[in-house]
Symmetry: C2
Subunit: 168 residues, 2 copies
Amino acid sequence: MSLSMYEASIPVFVRMLGNLSTILAKAQANAEARSIEPKVFIEARLAPDMFPLARQVQIASDTAKGCAARLAGVEVPSYPDTESSFAELQERIAKTVEFVQGIQAAQLEGSETRIVTLKMRTGDLTFPGQAYLLHFALPNLYFHVTTAYAILRHNGVDVGKMDFLGGV
Amino acid sequence: MSLSMYEASIPVFVRMLGNLSTILAKAQANAEARSIEPKVFIEARLAPDMFPLARQVQIASDTAKGCAARLAGVEVPSYPDTESSFAELQERIAKTVEFVQGIQAAQLEGSETRIVTLKMRTGDLTFPGQAYLLHFALPNLYFHVTTAYAILRHNGVDVGKMDFLGGV
């Protein structure tokens, strides 16, 4: 059975969103144990001009749902980016996973060459589906999940590499 | 043309190692411009019990060369992990790219099901090649390149998302 666009996207997204959920649950428990206001973590940044934790989670969600939808040729669901608590971030992840899991392998057949256009501030970006998945969506997803992890590690949350990789 | 193990690995590794090289070059220039001793960046960490920048680069290299070699069924080249300057880190990246680029598409044919065994401190980890690539090697590579980026951003180096993604 050869590698498919489906295997390289949907199960990867589901797994990494699940790992992000685990990491956030550990952060919430850590905040409670150390009597730290949850917003301290949710608004934490690694640099003044980097996004805070909540935005990292929202962009990880956007990357996964956007890629799954575009490769399948269906409309990208729009979420309002209003999450400001761990419970709301967990809901955001859960609804993203639900959407992504709803995409079937048959919908991604031939998506290697499906043309994907992204509207960026700097203009349109156009890719064949395979380049979009491998060189844009996956690096972006991993970038934002890793940055969420790094923000929390920097703030003393006891997460480890196995939480990031999940179930190895 | 359907997605292949080669396309999902070798060009991704080469691209991300190239982006890591660009990010380190910007860090070196930034250190010079701000009269900061390069070791300050090279030894910087996001948490006391996380690896410093140099080790992040070494592990990114290890992940790429290890995955390329194991999927191809050839010996993993061993590098001594002695880099302590930007020039040495750039050499490490360059020799990794050279090794990875030497792996041909034909060597990865059928590697979806090739059994890969990793010797970990906690015991052996065994995967079919596809799961090893998608759920272990790629997340690890992105984790360490993102963490290198985050260490530098946290230290005020003017790198941006486009440096991380490379040539989008």
